[in-house]
Amino acid sequence: MDETVQSEAGIPLSTSYGPDDLPPPESIPSPGVFPFTRGNFPDGYRGRLWTIRQYSGFGTPEESNERYRYLLDQGATGLSVAFDLPTQCGYDSDDPDVEEEVGRVGVAIDSLADFEILFDGIPLDAISTSMTINGSAAILLAFYVATGEKQGVDRAKLQGTIQNDILKEYVSRGTWIWPPRPSLRLIADTIEFCADQIPRFNAISVAGAHFRDAGATAAQEMAFTLMDGITYCEEVIGRGRMTIDQFARQVSFYFYTHGNFFEEIAKYRAGRRRWARIVRERFGAKEDRSCMFRFGVVSGGASLHAPQPHNNIVRVAYEAMASVLGGVQSMFTAAWDEPFAIPTEESATLALRTQQILAYETGVARVADPLGGSYYVEALTDAMEEKLVEIMEDLERQGGMVKGIEDGVLQRQISEQAFSIEQAVRSGERTVVGVNKFQTDEERPEVEGYELDEKGRLRQLERLAEVKRTRSAADVSATLRALAKAAAKDDENLMPHLIDCATAYCTVGEMVHVLKDEWGEFSQPVVF
């Protein structure tokens, strides 16, 4: 027997598991009971299925609106908005430095006028919207609130999520704008604002996904993410205005599910239990609901490969099943052609169908936590939780997340891991079908992909010019001035000011610029 068999995150695996491997019963109470190892709800998915949410957004607001309406017609139950990089990094579409990126990896948003088109005919009190936005998240949230107001929707009825997790941007995704300190303040502002005014909106989706896609193991992904979650909660609690029970429900999480089936399931079960314990023991939450770990996932990402690309359909299906067995609340399944292109309508629909087959044909959603009590799954969940604690304690000893990021420690750990994965694939130690085993000489299929329409970009520029021409210059300068004044103070919540700016049709770039003047910009440590 090979004694060195281990999971991808380095957990040693026995040949088989038995009753002696089970944890004490109090660690695995019934589903819906603290610490929620077996899920947040006693009835699993019977009460409510996970949200099927397909990430999309491209080109102009008109094109994206059309795709959203199509996805909703096809049975999607929530929207997931992808923004272009200028929007994510705080530039307007007419900034000459970013012209080639307008509308490319997502939809271009410059002002409230674009959001009005993006959500045209989509009732914001009935549909929940997830927005992958970080550096400029508070501004996009302001647009969303202002759009709801234009539709006549009560703020309290808005539902959705902004990613709003800046710490991981410094490590791996890169859409930072300001330095960590003021960014944390702005995030705490959004958390307070949502808790107070739009309680059904997740002010933050603390994301491990990008650590994972940059090379982290499943254990690092979860541990770093929980550390980020702690950092954000401490920021809000430190202001002394809210207790954990007042805002814990605004905090959600987000991960990548890759291919190691049982390890992924254990990752989610262990993360859910660990977070519940942190919220209770560290932050003193009184209500059990505050301790619930709610998360969304992407099935796909770096686990997909370019050679033999149709294999990705199979990978995504397994990953989606692992996510559901792990108790996911919302899921995006990647399309098979994503390693080289923005998905076509056909490949995006197939990815959606993958979830629908899982939800409606396989029966995995009929019983809460079907793997609960499995010798192997429970033992792996315990081992994973131990590993999480180990990584987190190590980070705390080194001074916490913000320091780790500023020093480049996390960046280095992740690139090391990425490099060792690459070496394992090159040496054949880790098998990837079609990549280092069972290869074929077949040419890569020429995928159609989405072609950016130059006319769309020009239309975006025209609309921006039109907005600047027709808005009230007095309102713009008054609201921007008020924003600058509030930003200069530490204790004033900026959300009401950002909503005023949005309503006055200030642009993303204008608001970002005002805050850059106050706060400066982040400078990155470069390590590889």
Binding site: L85, P86, Q88, C89, Y91, D97, V98, E99, E100, E101, R104, V105, E169, S172, R173, G174, T175, D213, A214, G215, A302, H305, A306, P307, P339, F340, A341, I342, S415, A418, F419, E422, R426, V435, R444, E446, V447, G449, L452, Q524, V526, F528
Partner: protein, 128 residues
Amino acid sequence: MSSPVRVLVAKPGLDGHDRGAKLVARALRDAGFEVIYTGIRQRPEAIAAVALQEDVDVVGLSILSGAHVALTKKTADALRAAGADDVVLVVGGTIPAKDVGRLQDAGAAAVYPTGTPLETLVDSIRSL
């Protein structure tokens, strides 16, 4: 004995995905090249300035945002404007096969789409 080949690995534009760029940088370093990495979100002019200042032989762009044609062209122009015409420009990333020719027209000496094995890339740069 000739001095080692100097390579600047660069991320132009706003795309922050640099797992690939870092892997390539490390593989080249392990293969005996002298490697500098710019970090993400660099302007083409800034890349050209570093290329000149560091006296590199090769600039390797990594682009996953879809803006590869425009950014390659801008970087090639910036290199020329900086007087670094002798620097060889190569490009890797999420690049559809149909764009390879367009990148060559824009000034790329070699193109490495997603899925290119690292050995292939290293050998190719060595032979440039």
